[in-house]
């Protein structure tokens, strides 16, 4: 096993006696006190997450927008300065390389935040599409910066963030938090209102302590995983990968087939024309048992797909999950079964947005 990389907050996690685990090659807290408590803190108040494992790539230069239009399926033509959106990088065959957030920081300055997995390959992939005279610089600042997510409805009462209370959803701005410089965005991966903050490492460390002093509960990956599952958010590498296309993954809304000549476009046009054969669904278990990644999905005993994510939802007090099934079994209300260690347990297809916040 390869040695885990450590985020700038690693010592803090150990000092808090977090249960540490490996995630995409990074040593990260699975939980500090309890996944259920941390989940509850985020749903009912605020939770703080170390998300520094995610890659932070600056794409700058007069050609930056055009370059991103080429490598992303949604493109950045419509993305105004001070805003961000979810986007996809696809392979030439339309398979999903990663989902990512693009933040338009300034004229000719974009920040990409992508998943921790396969960081080097993705950087190579990006660089491969650079051409001379494009006037684009790609700089990986993942290790020179820190990233914290502050998530939960009570962020709106957090006085130290009052400078950014007015920030729109998906907005991004350079700000001061108690005289500390940082980029802050109204984005997240929990289904709650909240902010994600990118700064240099010393600032990140001070912000972490500041939030702790304000009574904010640090939360681990365990809570994060349930929060995003409840909110219907996919995890790349688990719910989709290079063998999945955006339409199957119900991410077709991230593909703008009308924008320029982007990588994967002709394959995606063809996939769309032919139609998809399988689709990602949400399901709830109708009897006891928790579906886990890799469990078989059956229909009247016949194998029809696999669970990609699953777990216990404290918000719904139900066992929920995602999986791929043939398109004719994907409509809401369809009865399927999940094989939980040789036990066949009934499940029902439901909207994958298991949880929607009140506003």
């Amino acid at each position: 096993m390869q040695a885990s990389e450590k985020t700038p907050f690693n010592k803090y996690h150990h000092d808090l006696h977090a249960r540490m685990g490996d995630f995409a090659g990074w040593e990260l807290p699975m939980w500090y006190t309890s996944i259920l408590e941390e989940h509850k803190a985020t749903r009912n108040a605020i939770g703080m997450f170390d998300v520094s494992d995610m890659g932070r790539i600056w794409v700058t230069g007069t050609g930056a927008g055009a370059f991103l239009g080429k490598v992303l399926t949604r493109g950045v033509e419509q993305l105004e300065v001070g805003s961000s959106h979810l986007d996809l990088m696809c392979l030439e065959n339309g398979g999903i390389l990663d989902d990512l957030f693009v933040y338009h920081l300034d004229a000719d300055e974009y920040l990409i935040v992508w998943n921790a997995g396969h960081a080097d390959e993705k950087l190579d992939w990006l660089s491969q599409w650079l051409e001379p005279n494009m006037n684009v610089t790609i700089k990986d600042k993942s290790r020179d910066t820190a990233m914290i997510a502050i998530q939960g409805l009570a962020v709106r009462q957090l006085k130290i963030l009052k400078e950014v209370f007015q920030l729109a959803q998906f907005g991004v701005t350079k700000t001061h938090i108690e005289r500390l410089d940082a980029y802050i965005a109204r984005t997240g991966y929990t289904g709650e209102d909240g902010f994600e903050i990118v700064s240099d490492v010393p600032t990140g460390l001070r912000l972490w302590q500041l939030f702790i002093e304000h009574g904010i509960k640090p939360c681990g990956l365990g809570a994060r995983d349930i929060l995003r599952l409840e909110a219907g958010m996919l995890l790349c590498g688990q719910d989709m990968d290079a063998s999945t296309n955006p339409f199957e993954a119900v991410l077709g809304w991230l593909v703008d087939l009308a924008h320029g000549d982007f990588i994967g476009k002709s394959a995606l046009l063809e996939i769309k024309r032919k139609g998809i054969k399988r689709k990602l669904i949400g399901f709830t278990m109708k009897d006891r048992g928790i579906a886990r990644t890799g469990y078989r999905i059956t229909n009247s005993g016949e194998d029809v797909g696999k669970v990609t994510s699953g777990g216990y939802s404290p918000t719904l007090d139900a066992n929920i999950g995602f999986g791929y099934v043939p398109i004719d079994m994907s409509s809401i209300g369809t009865h399927l079964e999940i094989v939980i260690r040789n036990r066949i347990v009934p499940a029902e297809v439901v909207s994958k947005r298991f949880y929607k916040r009140r506003r």
């Binding site: 249960r19 699975m30 939980w31 309890s34 996944i35 259920l36 365990g222 349930i226 006891r288 048992g289 928790i290 886990r292 777990g311 216990y312 260690r341």
Partner: protein, 132 residues
Amino acid sequence: MDITEYRFTKEHEWICVEPDDTGRVGLSYYAQVHLGDLVFLDLPEVGSKVEQFGKLGELESVKAVSDVFSPASGVVLETNHNAVDEPGLVNKDPYGGGWLAMIKLSNPSELDNLMNKSEYNEFMKQCEESGQ
């Protein structure tokens, strides 16, 4: 909770045996810490036979599923309904109210295969060091 009379397995279960050869079985504190919040317990039917170190049931934590093994052979006399209804009891009180099952031992001499409290403390230290 006085657990000096408890005996432990390498899979981090405990058993506390009464003079009538009935034993109460549960998970160690260490095990519940490492499993995290338990949300579902699948325990055997009353009357079923279990083997020493054989499977007793399954525990689902928020993160994962794991088997729980019986520290001794015998017949299941009772399972803990309170813990089935509220699996978090196993996290809160693993040596007391969060017990899992009562077993009538069929071969009490098997208890010699288990660790006593101080042996188990030593074993836990090794587990921590090897990161298990």
